[in-house]
Subunit: 261 residues, 4 copies
């Protein structure tokens, strides 16, 4: 599917502030960037980063005053197969080395605290794929999508108790439960077709049967409409904007549309 994505961000900075922005479509194996443009206000040069393993990109710079960042791209996001129930779980010794960090607890995904719950609830199933689908079904049945109940500090533990949150919270809890089941899981930021209202989206992916599989724990956007930006341990790693000091977010406008065929 070819999608045209656009992000317009406007921030106000009280002083010169270091920023790291992660908004560009990844040059990953599962999608192709057909065309793109990036402008970032300010007269400081951009340091452009590219990670070969994942194809993800970001830029770093320093901004002050009011600054706008605009990114546009046409991306062919290929075909994304849904996670099969029979996808096989790996022994730790079989995993690629760079999958191992995604078995560990992280800032918003304290999977070490959920071992007993995850074993109780999901371990009866034999295949990794079936376990992940059981986790997704559990989230769908037990957690409500509610805006305004969580904050930037909300962890999966809090969401597990509160039973409500937004895409970030569903993703954190889903990742946490998968890691508690010894299944590598990582957060993915994305542009998402048909997401309403349009915004950056947070989903996750699991490593089973020798590959990563994208899943959307909120069921708000079809996986085939996802344009991948970045992946990481949790929201801390994949924030679309990280700044060295507090600033004022004045506008975040996202659009995702079918490109002309």
């Amino acid at each position: 599917m070819q999608l045209r994505v656009r992000a317009e961000l406007v921030y106000g900075f009280q002083a010169a502030t270091q920023v790291r922005a992660s908004i560009e479509a990844a040059l990953s194996a599962d999608q192709t960037v057909i065309s793109e443009s990036l402008t970032a206000g300010g007269d400081q040069p951009l340091v452009r980063d590219f990670d070969e393993a994942t194809g993800q990109r970001q830029f770093r710079t320093s901004l002050s005053g009011e600054a706008a960042i605009i990114y546009e791209a046409v991306v062919d996001n290929g075909e994304r197969a849904p996670l099969p129930h029979g996808a096989r779980e790996h022994l730790w010794s079989e995993l690629p080395l760079d999958c191992l960090p995604y078995l560990l607890p992280s800032r918003f995904c304290p999977s070490d605290k959920f071992m007993r719950f995850a074993q109780r609830e999901f371990s009866g199933l034999s295949d990794g794929g079936a376990k992940v689908h059981a986790v997704l079904d559990w989230l769908h049945e037990h957690v409500d999508y509610v805006a305004g109940v969580s904050t930037a500090e909300t962890t999966a533990e809090r969401t597990f108790v509160d039973r409500a949150g937004v895409c970030r919270d569903f993703t954190h809890l889903g990742i946490t439960l998968c890691r508690s089941l010894n299944i590598p899981a990582r957060a993915v930021s994305a542009y998402a077709w048909k997401l309403a209202p349009p915004d950056f989206h947070a989903i996750f992916e699991v490593y089973l049967g020798g590959q990563w599989w994208l899943v959307d724990p909120t069921r708000l956007s079809p996986v085939e409409g996802i344009v991948r930006i970045a992946c990481g341990r949790d929201a801390a790693d994949i924030a679309f904007m990280t700044t060295s000091q507090n600033c004022d977010c004045r506008k975040v406008a996202i659009s995702v549309e079918l490109a002309q065929p």
Copy 2:
């Protein structure tokens, strides 16, 4: 300095358990492994991992019943210069890409919660080196080394309130404060000469002036007596033993001695 290190670990496993062990001296630029041997009980093969960027190693395998792991090495740990007060802080845009994760909050180091405290307490100082020394002095004055008050779940936030802990806790709080100051900081596991009682040691390192500098927030062991094992975001990444299910730790015996000159 040439040091002879030895670790003997004995575990009891109720069922076949996947393990990841991080006990080998790193093949890092700042130390040389002169000789070593590793034996790990069990008939399953060991998968040996090596990370080129840091030189750190680990092995993965599956163990059952009672299993002993013994590692011995003679290591020349070179010369480790102490962190200068004048070590310069970097702009984000100047940092090597692989330093960036060490600016972010992690499971045991929720640096996002400490921004205001860190700014209040330490930001008056101009150089990064001076700030880190101020953090170390603050830890020394405000936190007691007390065994038994913390657990495997203890975060830097809890230690900040409790004002007591062991090496792991000092390290987590030190890392947290440095990251809150926008200084990259990561946890390091090590063999430590003169540590009493002998045990695996947790310290940390900060990235300033173009290099990583090791510091010991507990002041229990001289930095020149450190044999580095692994580094990571916090204790979750550098645990000497990670297992896929609960097991029974029966023995952890560590020794670190001067090798014959």
Copy 3:
């Protein structure tokens, strides 16, 4: 039922320490103290407290060095009816004033965080008694009785995630869920017949249909074998021993036996 209860506590104090001990059988409407004796080491006088509303007692004194406290009593604990499923829930405006605090969150029972979960899981039932029985069944099915996984700081929130704990933890989580359902619930300390191994026991009671009903969320001891000591918002209120500074608990020996008929 007539029960002979005995508690022997031995503590070591480094300095003169203020203590509050809550170990005497309550002179409550639902039980009769037939005989009793109390000795508390030390030469300081005991201040004996009695609360008319609940009949509970405690004493306060100052202790130093090694001190033993011994309490013995024969108590007729009457007949304790089990909570009927049809016990009626009260409107707030119908409750006795002294029940109201037991609707509120407390140190170990953050019921404000569980509103959504409790409503989702238990609110379909019409009567208060049925709701409390549903809470007790839920605890029985979802939480394991495991010693050693919780500490004196463990809250109901942690237990809800960890799904394991001891009597104190079951009681805290049960209270929390009842309060989230707008049912007054309070912690009760007790001597418990047939509890193995013998120890102080923590259970709780709920206010429905115009009276308090004792329930044991662990199902470890029959409610008719309970000798009530004290009640309060949670374990902080009903601790058998509270001290003004750290001390060394050297012995806690409890026995509960049928008295000669």
Copy 4:
């Protein structure tokens, strides 16, 4: 001083909701209510509560639709002496029985976690009054008054780390530190003269030298301008409005003025 206080609250309720409102000036020994009026929308009767020990009042009722509550009073709040530095600390055995709960940790004041910090920081002083003044000075120096950084779930522990909050947060942290020093401390809700912008105010009081002393940890309003409403363990006990389910707060308008002399 004679003060005219007025509160106007407007709420929207989706369904019949049980409410508890604590907005009436206390009939306490330290102030006199000269005249007052209370109207609460709705056709359900009000249950009016009065606590003899503290003089505090509240009412309970059931409300639905949009409902307004208006309270007006002229109160002579007498003379409130400032806490003397020499106010004497009591042994536990000397305290009135009803002071004891205010030594214990509560939902938002986990004083059990702060023992070591409080001892380290404040225990060098000999008198209770001096210790409380040191706590107040510490709060003034280390915590910023900032709206919007805390929520209804914020505990003193979070504020201690974040170093910012509003009156509720200052009060919780102040209470927590005092209890950690074995000084009884409780939260007080109040109308406060000269508070800008006008709102309900949260302060606290400590029991020293045989009486309770009001203190304002925010230093925003003079203690002599306080009209006391209620006291309790923390904000959970003294909320001006507690409801059995979520509702929509549409207006909270408070005024406090000098009455005609």
